[in-house]
């Protein structure tokens, strides 16, 4: 790990000022930042510790409806907050399907949004990577790429965004609140992330010194609470990143779908909202056939970026199954094995 300066500002304004200098990085839970500093993939000259900033650790119900979550709320605390889990059960399920209990206790909302891709070449300074070193090339193109993107990728970068939490957030139109040297701004989380194009080093719209202060979930998001699920395919039952995941939510009236929401994880450099699939479901019956058609539409533009064509069919099946689970209704509590295909519909494991 490189040597760095360490500062612990007392206010958001001080933090923004301290982080506006080149080479500075915010330190929140540290679970992604320290990991990448240990390999030498990241070498910030200054860490701006935001763990003691006042006011960023609140979960609030807004008077106009919806909820606001401070950037320093720990992932475990958010998943466990009863009002939050009741209103946005798929978000709670996604949070609990991520990482381990220890990591969720440390990881923050802001850090989860800003975590870097798990592309192994980004973490390894001995490899070339356009995200780490713009213009250097991309070792993943001809390397280990079976977990890489099938949507929205470019020849400059085929990495995926690894977060589970962000997938239902994008499905539910979450808004990110940002404070920076130029003042405040906010935008839908979906637009916060950038696709790689020719400039994969720009992963989000965040400019130097800008701090995520919180997230808002709009009131309409809670209208899906009776039928919303997160389903995550991974290479072991727990403590693994998603190969492919989906957040699926429905409103059903008189046997017909009113509104549908769908976002996929593990398929692109940002959580992938599939509006064409949502549109197809409007007015349809909640059947396996309708959901398969929606899945087909969601993956219509998908193409393999390497040894990963299997992810396209896998994603279709995950989407279909996530909608079937959503249609069956949100379980009363988050299943014992969150977001797992090894949980039955009632939330009880089918393992012996």
């Amino acid at each position: 790990m490189n040597l760095f300066d360490y500062v612990r500002p007392a206010s958001v304004a001080e933090a923004v000022a301290a982080a506006s200098k080149p080479g500075a990085a915010y330190f929140a839970g540290g679970t992604n930042l320290l990991d990448l500093m240990k390999t030498g993939a990241l070498t910030p000259g200054k860490l701006v510790d935001i763990t003691r900033l006042p006011g960023l650790d609140r979960i609030e119900t807004l008077s106009e409806g919806g909820m606001r979550i401070g950037a320093m709320v720990r992932n475990a605390d958010l998943a466990r907050a009863p009002d939050f889990a009741a209103a946005y059960p798929a978000v709670a399920e996604a949070l609990l399907s991520g990482a381990s209990a220890q990591l969720r206790n440390a990881a923050t909302v802001g850090g989860n949004l800003m975590q870097r891709t798990r592309c192994a070449y980004l973490a390894d300074p001995a490899s070339v990577c356009n995200r780490r070193d713009p213009g250097a090339g991309c070792d993943a193109l001809e390397g280990e790429n079976r977990t890489h993107a099938v949507l929205g990728w470019s020849d400059a970068c085929i990495a995926t965004h690894p977060s589970d939490f962000c997938v239902p957030l994008v499905a539910f139109d979450a808004v990110v609140e940002i404070e920076g040297p130029e003042g405040r701004r906010e935008m839908p989380l979906e637009e916060f992330y950038l696709l790689p194009g020719e400039t994969p080093e720009h992963e989000s719209v965040l400019a130097g010194g800008e701090l995520i202060t919180g997230l808002r979930l709009p009131p309409e998001a809670a209208d899906f609470r009776a039928r919303s699920r997160y389903l995550k395919l991974r290479e072991r039952t727990s403590f693994a990143f998603a190969l492919v995941s989906a957040a699926a939510a429905l409103q059903i009236e008189d046997g017909t779908i009113g509104k549908a929401r769908l976002a996929l994880g593990g398929v692109a450099a940002r959580p992938w909202r599939a509006r064409s699939a949502e549109a197809l479901l409007r007015g349809a019956e909640p059947t396996a056939e309708s959901f398969a058609r929606a899945a087909e539409a969601a993956l219509a533009d998908a193409k393999p970026s390497g040894d990963n064509a299997f992810k396209i069919e896998l994603a279709r099946r995950v989407v279909t199954r996530a909608f079937l689970l959503a249609a069956a209704g949100t379980p009363e509590s988050v299943p014992a094995l969150p977001a797992s295909v090894f949980s039955s519909d009632t939330g009880v494991s089918i393992h012996a």
Binding site: Y6, G30, D49, S100, A101, Q102, A106, L337, P338
Partner: protein, 164 residues
């Protein structure tokens, strides 16, 4: 850039001067305070061998910066037994053969203590397995580990019941 931090470790207040801010909580415990019960397996958050409680919550000490934890209360495996009397989780690990080589054991036990404090898993074996998935065991002692945690959970719940 030297930094002084104060931590309460297993009930004892420790004032430590760090030569530079790179020191993780794990390295501070092992290298500076010689509390080597907490193990370093992967040093990357992937194995759970370094699990300790910070302010009552289980975390991976390898991905925590000591400087950032100034003022915190840390509990390690060394702090669990009181007056030579093993804690419930420790006894349960022995009774259920919850280990073989023992390398992962301090992390497993601290994680189990954290899990029981969280109170979400109850007596559901799936929830306990899921809740313990951040702790790998290279020897494959998981079956005994899960039995030990379930038993410890039951005993702790029983004691609370009696107290109430």
């Amino acid at each position: 850039m030297s930094l002084s931090v104060t931590l309460t470790i297993n009930g004892d207040r420790k004032d430590v001067v760090l030569e530079d801010p790179r020191v993780t909580l794990l390295d501070l415990l092992r290298e500076r305070l010689h509390l080597t019960g907490t193990k370093k397996g992967c040093d990357r958050g992937q194995c759970g061998a370094c699990t300790v409680l910070v302010d009552g919550r289980r975390i991976n000490a390898c991905l925590a910066l000591a400087a950032s934890l100034d003022g915190a209360e840390v509990m390690t495996i060394e702090g669990l037994a009181v007056g030579g009397r093993l804690a419930t989780v420790q006894s349960a690990f022995i009774e259920h053969d919850g280990f073989q080589c023992g390398f992962c054991t301090p992390g497993q036990i601290m994680s189990a203590v954290g899990l029981i404090l969280e109170g979400d898993a109850g007596d559901d074996p799936d929830r306990v397995r899921e809740g313990m998935s951040g702790n790998l065991c290279r020897c494959g002692a998981h079956a005994g580990i899960i039995e030990a945690v379930l038993d410890a959970q039951k005993r702790v719940a029983g004691e609370e019941g009696k107290a109430a």
